[in-house]
Each structure stands twice: as C-alpha cells, then as structure tokens.
C-alpha cells in the first residue's frame, strides 16, 4: 500500500486565510478562559491584531505575487489577482466593521445583548417587543448587565466575525464547488447567530436570525443540489473541469444548466439579488446595526466575488446560453430594489432595498465575461462596501431613548441639530446614488462601460433608469434632513466614540478618494484575471 502523498501547499499565498482562521480559534479560547471583565479588551485587541497581521501578510505576498495566480491545496484554492484584491477588500471592510462592533460609547455596553438567554425570555414577554427596557422592573437594568455592574456585552461576536471573515476569504478563493460549499457554511453560520444578538428590539433581532437561517439553509440546499448536478455532468467539481467539460462533449445540457441554475440561486441568495432578496430587508432591519454593516459590506463582497469566479471560470464559454436568464434576474433586482425602496419608511430597510438595487448593478458587471468586467466588479465591491459601512455607522449614531431612531420621520430636520452628521450622510447617499466625484459614480461607470462593450446596452439603459428611480429615495432622506422641521422630542445624535469615528471617517474618505483619484485602486482591480 502506497502512502498517501500530501499535496504541496503554497503557505505564503494562503497565509492571510490561515491567520484569520487561526485567530478565530484563539478567539474562541479567549472567550472560554478569560474572566468576563477582561474579555472585551482582549477580544478587540486580538481581532484587530489578527486582521492587521493578515493584512500585512497579504500585502507582502501581493507585492511579489505571480500575475497568473497560484492554485494550491490540491487545487482547492486559487490565489490569483482577484482573490488578493477581494481578500484585501474583505480585510479592510472587516476592520471597519469590527470598529463599529467594538464601539461601546454609542450604546452603553455595546450594541450586543448582555446575556442572550436571559434577554430572550424578557424579549418574548408581551409589551417588550420594541423597547426591551422599562416594562418589567426586575429586568430594567438587565440589558446592561446585573444591577450595580458596569454594562457588559456578549463578546462571542468577535470569534463569530473572525470565522465569518475566514469563510468569506475561503469562499472567494474556492477553486472547486465543494470547497466553496464548505466556505459558504463557514461564513453563513456565524452570521445567522450574529443577527440575533441585538441588545434592543430582541424579538425583531431573533426573528431576523431565524428568517435568515431558514432561508439560508434552503439556499444552501439549492447550492448543494446544483453541485451534485454539475458533478454528474462534468465528473468533477473543479471549476475549470466544468468549463472543459462544457466545451468538448455532447453530454446533455440539461445537467449543466440545471446545475448552474441551482448553484446560482444559492449564490444570488447570499448576494441578496432580487428576486432572491426577501430576507434582506428583515435581516438588515433586525440585526444589530454593526452586524448589518458587516453583512452589507463583507457578505456582498464575498458573494459577488464567488459569483464572478464561478461565472467566469466555469461558465465563461457557455455565457450565451445563460446570459438571458441572468439579464432577467438583474433587471428584476434593480427594479425591485429601486421601486420597493421608494415605499420604505424605515431607514435600514431602505438601505437594504438600495443594496438589492446595487446587487443588480453588480450582477451586470459579473455577467460581462471580460477582464474589464472583472475589474469593474471588483472595484464596485470595494467602493460600495466602504460607502455602505459608513452609512450604517452613521445610522447607529441617531438614537432615542429606545435605541436607534431608524424611522424616516425621526430624521427630519437633523441638519439643524447636527450639520456634520447630515453632511456626511448626504455625501454617502449621493455616493449610493452614483453622483460624480464619489466612488459610486466611478464604480457605476466602470461596470456600465464594461457591460456596454460586452454587448449589454439595453441592460445598461435599464440600470440607469433604475438609478434615477433609486435616487429619489436617497433624496427623500436628504430632503428630510435639510428641508423639514425638527419634530418634538426627536432623536439625539450621539457623539461617536473613537472606534465609530474612525470607521465612518474611513468609509467617507475612501468614498471620496475613489471618486476623485481612483487610478491606483482601478489598477489593482485590473492587475490580473481569474485563474482556472
């Protein structure tokens, strides 16, 4: 019997991924062994350190990385230029999200539940569905920990974040569908839990978590079914093997396209592309705002990174067959996002619909199977991630005694009380609308020009009309903030702590810079294509 031969591993290439996953394990140990009051500082320091080290490692590797990429771990992972770009994007966005998650100045003790089990039972009691505090005297102070104790928060959120981040990084680098599935689960499971951790509005948060979990499990099943069909077609789950099989065989296309359809449904679900978007508004609204920021920024990057890779590497040669269907999906997503966004009265839901519209734009970019299409999509992901991160950072600052004031009417006249916050929010909303001199415009331009040169002119026109419609609801917020009168006992604007300030500043600065001098990042995004 011959001994199993271990495949060669390019440690340098996958070091960032290993560091993040290793850090996540350490973080679990910290959670288990450190006393409660030491956990928060230790976890924050550890998480930031892990992300920083991973980032530095990535930077060092990317400096000398081969342009054609490296396929390693028995061809399970492909570390090519898009992977490196996406990893960098994910790490920076995760850093910003961690800052929001770690902030304890905005909400005393942080945005996360102090004791999940305890609060769940209180939250379920009648009359406490929205507030969380103030009904049951026994539990009045519980949301901030036991009486007399300094406010605490559950610090599980840090290892969750690291695991989810590790999953996302593996997801975008997966070179075969099984690895991709495992990564999908690694990134999804912590996210389901994180959604349910909100300190305020417990029921809403838990409902969001359950909804996300059930629909997510469903989508994973679709994905897996698709993988099975594709394996039946190609005899392999490697992306490049599927591409090869599609070119030179007379096998039934039913398996190939059936498999693709199911696979793509699973991926589109993660990317919150309409009509697979139904979870998005509820989850965005119910999850703690820092987690929403993490999901909106990072999950989007991971999902679209994977969609782009699958479409480009495995299905690039058959694009004329499936493109029509994805056209319909992209149009549906843009229309749903833009039109339903108009009717929203909750800010977080509105941004959720905006993210659905943006998912449609992103899908257009991934459909252009050209290097321009790939680099445009990558750039769009980075730009959108930073903008949306900062948007949620700003949302978390506007509060009433009951927690965040996310109802639109509560934002009326905000410019009078907090001109800086209103100015920042206006700028970010203009970026989401795609006004020039913001990253949103550069990104849209890159995606649409790639799409137009790959023969998708009608889709570009639809996208531009959808942008115009979507601009209306962004404008509504601006109108409310600047032109309306302040309501009586309106929300207050919390003075953000250092963490949140840094996160918002990061988002705003990147949004501005990518609008004015995007060259460097565009060059990175266009450094190389996917490798098979």
């Amino acid at each position: 019997m011959t001994p199993l031969e271990a495949p060669p591993i390019a440690y340098g290439a996958i070091a960032p991924l290993l560091i993040v996953l290793g850090g996540a394990c350490v973080s679990v140990l910290v959670e288990a062994f450190l006393p409660r009051h030491q956990r928060w500082p230790a976890q924050v320091a550890l998480t930031v350190l892990v992300i920083a080290v991973a980032g530095v490692t990535l930077g060092v590797y990317a400096g000398g990385a081969p342009a054609e990429g490296v396929v390693t771990l028995a061809a399970a992972l492909a570390v090519d230029m898009p992977t490196l770009f996406l990893w960098g994007t994910l790490l920076v966005l995760a850093f910003g999200s961690i800052l929001l998650i770690a902030d304890r100045s905005v909400e005393p003790g942080g945005a996360f539940v102090a004791n999940a089990v305890e609060r769940a039972s209180v939250g379920a009691a009648p009359g406490t569905t929205t507030g969380g505090t103030g009904v049951d005297p026994e539990h009045v102070d519980r949301s901030y920990g036991a009486l007399g104790e300094a406010p605490t928060m559950q610090t599980e959120v840090f290892p969750f974040t690291l695991f989810a981040l590790g999953g996302m990084m593996a997801f975008v680098a997966s070179n075969d569908l099984l690895t991709m599935f495992v990564a999908l689960e690694v990134l999804s499971l912590p996210l389901y839990l994180m959604c349910g951790l909100a300190r305020r509005r417990r029921l809403l948060s838990q409902e969001a978590a359950v909804k996300y979990f059930l629909l997510g499990a469903f989508a994973s099943a679709f994905f897996l079914y698709g993988v099975a069909l594709l394996y039946g077609y190609a005899g392999s789950v490697r992306l490049s093997a599927i591409a090869n099989a599609a070119v030179g065989t007379d096998r039934s296309d039913a398996l190939l396209f059936g498999g693709l359809a199911l696979l793509v449904v699973g991926l589109l679900f993660k990317g919150s592309v309409g009509p697979f978007h139904t979870w998005t508004p509820d989850v965005y609204q119910g999850a703690p705002t820092p987690v929403t920021a993490f999901m909106a920024a990072c999950t989007k990057v991971a999902a679209f990174g994977a969609i782009a890779r699958v479409l480009f590497v495995a299905f690039g040669s058959t694009r004329w067959e499936w493109r029509g269907v994805l056209w319909a999906v992209a149009i549906a997503s843009m229309v749903i996002g833009a039109v339903l966004g108009l009717t929203q009265t909750d800010l977080k839901r509105m941004i959720a619909y905006s993210s659905i519209a943006h998912a449609g734009f992103l899908l257009i970019g991934t459909m252009a199977i050209t290097t321009a299409g790939t680099s445009a999509t990558l750039f769009y992901l980075l730009a959108y991630g930073f903008t949306t991160l900062a948007v949620f950072g700003v949302i978390s600052l506007v509060r009433t005694a009951d927690g965040e004031a996310t109802h639109l009417s509560q934002w009326a006249g905000l410019a009078k009380r907090s001109p800086v916050l209103a100015g920042v929010m206006t700028f970010l909303l203009l970026a989401l609308a795609g006004i020039p001199l913001t990253s949103g415009f550069t990104a849209k331009f890159a995606v649409f020009s790639a799409a137009l040169s790959d023969g998708m002119a009608p889709l570009v026109v639809v996208a531009l009309v959808a942008s115009a419609i979507a601009a209306f609801f962004y404008l509504r917020i601006v109108v409310l903030m600047y032109f309306s009168d302040t309501p009586e006992n309106g929300p207050t604007v919390t003075v953000p702590g250092a963490f949140t300030t840094v996160a918002i500043t990061l988002g705003v600065v990147v949004t501005l810079l990518l609008g004015i001098v995007p060259t460097l990042v565009l060059d990175w995004a266009g450094a190389g294509g996917f490798t098979g």
């Binding site: 001199l437 331009f445 040169s453 601009a471 109108v479 032109f483 060259t519």
Partner: protein, 534 residues
C-alpha cells in the same frame, strides 16, 4: 499649459470653503464672498483681454489649455480650455454673480438659514458653471454637469419659497434623469471610440476628429442621449415642466443663475457636444429639434400671458426664448450660430434683470401675484422705468441687447428653415404682448392691488383677511429703489444698452469659434436671400 482656468475654477471653490469657518461672522462672510466674486470677475476680464481672436480665427480651437491625465484606466483627463462661446458664457456668469451678491446682501432668509451658507452655495454654483464651460474632456464635462445640480438643489430647497421642497426635488430628479440618460450615451461614445481608435478616449478633440467615422445609426442613439439631457436642462418644450416650479420657488439670486446661466448649459451643450460630436445625427434630427423649438416659442409665450405669478411669468418667457436659441442652433448657418450664442448671453442679462425686478417688487409688496400690484409707476417711478427696460430687452426692442441676437437668429435661420423662421417671428409679437401686458398690469393706471394698497396703509389697520406675507409688509410704504438696488441694476442697464448698440466686441469673440463649429460640421453657409437653401 496655462494655469489660468484652474485658478478660475479654484477661486470660487476656495471662497465657498471659507464660508464655513466664517459661518458665525456674517459680515465677514459676506465681504469674503463678495471679494471672491470680484476677484473672479477680474480674472475673467484678464482672460478675455488675453483671448487671441486672431489665433482662434486661424484654427486654434481652444485657448488657455490645461490637461493632465486623471483616470488612465478610463482615458480621462483633467482638461480645460475655452473657445469664444465658452468665454462669453463664463464672462456672463462672472458678471452676474457680484451683482447678485449685492442683491442678496440684505435679503431676509428663511428662519435658521445663514447668509454664509447662502453665499457659499452661490460660489459653489459658480465654480461648477466654470467647470462645465471650460471642460474639454467629455467625462469631466459630465462630472461638472451633474455636480452643478447639488448646490442649486440646496439653494432652492433651503432658501426658496413656500413650495420649495417640491420644486427642488422635481428639479433634481428631472436633471438627474437627463444626466443618467446622457451617461448611457457617454459610455456608448467611449466604447465606440474604443472600437474605432483602438483605445477609449474622452478627449473632446479626438472624439470630434473621429465623428465622421461613426455610423449614422450609432450617432443617432448617442445624440439622443445627450440631446435629452440638454433638452431637459435648456429646457425645450416637452421637458420644461420643472422650470416654472424651480424658477418660481428659487430665491431670486438662484433663479437668475438658474434661468440665466445654468439653463444655458443645455443650449451650450447642443452647440459644443451634440453638433460637433454627432454631425450626421444632428442634421438628420434637426427637423425634430426645430419643431420642438418653434412649439416652445409659441407655447411659452402663450402660457406666459396666462400666468398669475410673476416668477412663473418670467420662467415661461424664458421657455419661449430658449426656443429661439434652439432654432438658431439647429439652423446650421454661422449667422444663426452666432445669434444663438449671443442670445444666450443676452437672455442671461435680460431675464436676470427681469428676475431682479420681480424680486424688488416682492420685497416691497410681499406677494408674487401680478394681480396684487398696480399703478406702481406713480409710487416708484425709477423702479417702473427699470422694469420697463428689462421688459423691452426681453421683447428684443431695437436698441437693447436682445434685438441683435434675435435678429441674427432669424436672419441666419431663414435660408435653411424658412417656414420655422416665419412662425418664430410671430413669437416676437407675442413677446411684445406679454411684456406690455405685464407692465401695464403692474405699473400703470391708478394705484391698486392688495399688496400695494396694504403697504400704504398704516400698520395694524383694518383688513385682517389678507395674506400674512402681505400683512407683514404693512405700513412700509412703497419706496422707490435704494442706492444698493440701483447699484445692482446699474451695471445690467449699462451692458444691456451698450450691447444693443455695440455688440461687436462680443461677436468678435464668438465668431471664430462659430466658424470652427461650422467646419466641424462640414458645412458652409447657405447662399443668403434669393438663393436656394443648401
């Protein structure tokens, strides 16, 4: 590489930014803004003096050129340069802004709004206008074209009349929709240039040189995208409905900038982008545009007659005037082009003055309704005289500036478009009708009208059933123009009269660039009277 245009662009930007640290010191903020606007005006004078018309006539398309790469991945440049057409429009802007600031000096702003914000937005608008007129890179032009919306949106929405929210959002959405349609064409143009030249470019001159190679069908699609954006901005008739609202609700200074200059970006866009970049499509679609233009001339005039609100009245007269400009632009003769360009300047002056007069009336009576005024000329003869002059300029009476341009447009358009020109001439009669009717209603006859009467009544007297805004003006009397107001109007009056008799200096600047546009279109002037068109 001349840095002049960059400086011209940055001066108002810096001025606008300075308003923020000065926001609690209103007099200093106003003084700084005024100094900025005057510096900008001096810069424009320097540029005008240095503009070499001889070089322009011998084929130098742009002067004061400045170009550095911006986003190499898209082939865009920070490229600036001016021709005669851009120069006169920049001059118009720089001429109007200091006067508008003087007008706004003592304006009563809505509660909670500061003058520093107001002046900052004015300067920001000016900066974007300079950018729009000087950009020689189509992408850069688009950036300014969209950026222009934002300060104007806030000017209307924060400082405007009672219905300002509706008007500002309508203005923004209309313009944004147009802008996005143009973006589609812009990207299409970029991709087309990539197919023809081997690499995508946004440089205006390269795109112009390539224009002849673009198939006509492609040109028509691309033309339409630009056309819709400019037609909304100009506005031509089916796209005009935002203008009366925005013009009426905007504060007077913003209305002057909006109707006087910002809307010229649309007609300027026809002349600089639609015609030279898509010559075949322009000729193919000219009948359509001319039809819209003629409809606009008559329709705007008819609606102007029916208006009750003074600001809306001026807005509708402008729609009629924009019809003339569009007619001249698509009549394809150098006379008509020159006339249209001069018309843009003159309309900015005459409509600017009309809006200022409306603002002065409203400041006295507190009402925008025409029926609230009557017989003002006996109370404030100088004011009435100024209004008459503004009106005469608007209806293109010989001796005022507008006569020259209107005449040039009609004479230049006749050989190619005789029918449209004859119908457009009827518009002149309408113009006389609405202007004189407006003047007669508000200025002549016995003293009447609620706003006027109320201002003469002692404060707090009988008649509680009146409009609160009107009531607030009670007992103030109906004073004639103050020195400051005369200071606002005097430069306008001088220029209106001088350009009426000596349009030469402006036409000398315009003509070489108009000839260049003719060359780019591959056209020669039609044989004038008696000959067969084309």
């Amino acid at each position: 590489m001349s840095p002049m245009l960059i400086i011209l662009l940055l001066v108002p930007v810096v001025g606008a930014l300075l308003m923020y640290p000065l926001r609690h010191n209103v007099p200093a903020a106003k003084a700084t803004a005024m100094v900025t606007a005057l510096v900008e005006f001096v810069l424009v004078v320097v540029i005008w003096v240095g503009y070499d018309t001889a070089a322009a006539a011998s084929g130098t398309r742009f002067q004061y050129e400045f170009s550095i790469p911006w986003i190499p991945a898209f082939g865009t440049h920070l490229a600036f340069g001016i021709d005669g057409i851009a120069l006169v429009l920049i001059a118009l802007t720089a001429f109007l802004v200091p006067g508008l600031m003087l007008f706004a000096w003592a304006e009563k702003l809505p509660e909670g709004r500061t003058a520093s914000g107001y002046f900052a937005l004015l300067l920001a608008t000016q900066a974007t206008l300079v950018g729009v007129f000087t950009a020689t890179d189509v992408f850069l032009f688009y950036v300014f074209f969209e950026a222009m919306l934002i300060p104007m949106y806030f000017l209307i929405g924060r400082f405007g009349g009672p219905n300002r929210q509706y008007a500002s959002v309508k203005f923004f959405l209309y313009s944004l929709l147009g802008g996005l349609i143009m973006l589609a064409s812009l990207i299409g143009l970029y991709v087309t240039s990539g197919n023809i030249l081997g690499r995508g470019t946004f440089t205006w001159s390269e795109l112009q040189a390539m224009a002849a190679q673009v198939p006509t069908s492609t040109q028509i699609w691309l033309f339409l995208g630009f056309f819709v954006a400019f037609a909304i901005k100009a506005p031509l008739v089916p796209f005009h409905t935002w203008l009366p609202d925005a013009g009426a609700e905007a504060p007077i200074v913003a209305a002057v900038l909006l109707v006087g200059v910002l809307d010229k970006v649309g007609t300027y866009g026809f002349l600089r982008y639609c015609l030279p970049l898509f010559p075949a499509a322009s000729q193919a679609l000219a009948p359509l545009v001319i039809t819209l233009a003629v409809i606009g001339i008559l329709y705007g005039a008819l609606l102007a007659v029916g208006q009750k609100d003074m600001s809306r009245f001026v807005a509708y007269t402008s729609i009629a005037h924009f019809g003339f400009i569009a007619l001249g632009t698509f009549a394809f003769s150098s006379q008509a082009f020159a006339g249209a360009t001069l018309y843009m300047v003159n309309h900015g002056l005459s409509t600017g003055m009309l809006f200022v007069m409306v603002g002065l009336l409203v400041a006295r009576g507190g009402s925008r309704l025409i029926s609230d005024y009557g017989g003002v000329s006996t109370l404030a003869p100088v004011l009435a005289g100024c209004l008459l002059l503004a009106g005469m300029s608007s209806l293109a009476l010989p001796g005022t500036n507008s006569f020259v341009s209107e005449f040039l447009v009609l004479v230049g358009s006749f050989p190619n478009e005789p029918v449209a020109t004859i119908i457009a001439t009827v518009g002149i009669i309408f113009a006389a009708l609405y202007v004189l009717w407006f003047y007669q209603q508000t200025m002549q006859g016995p003293v009447r009208g609620q706003a006027v009467l109320n201002s003469l009544e002692p404060a707090g007297g009988p008649g509680a059933m009146i409009d609160p805004a009107v009531a607030a003006k009670r007992g103030g009397g109906f004073p004639d123009l103050t020195k400051r107001e005369i200071g606002v109007l005097a430069p306008l009056i001088v220029v209106i009269v001088v350009l009426g008799f000596f349009p030469g200096p402006v036409l000398d600047v315009i003509n070489p660039s108009v000839q260049a546009t003719m060359t780019e279109l591959g056209l020669t002037d039609p044989v004038p009277v008696g000959g067969v068109a084309r």
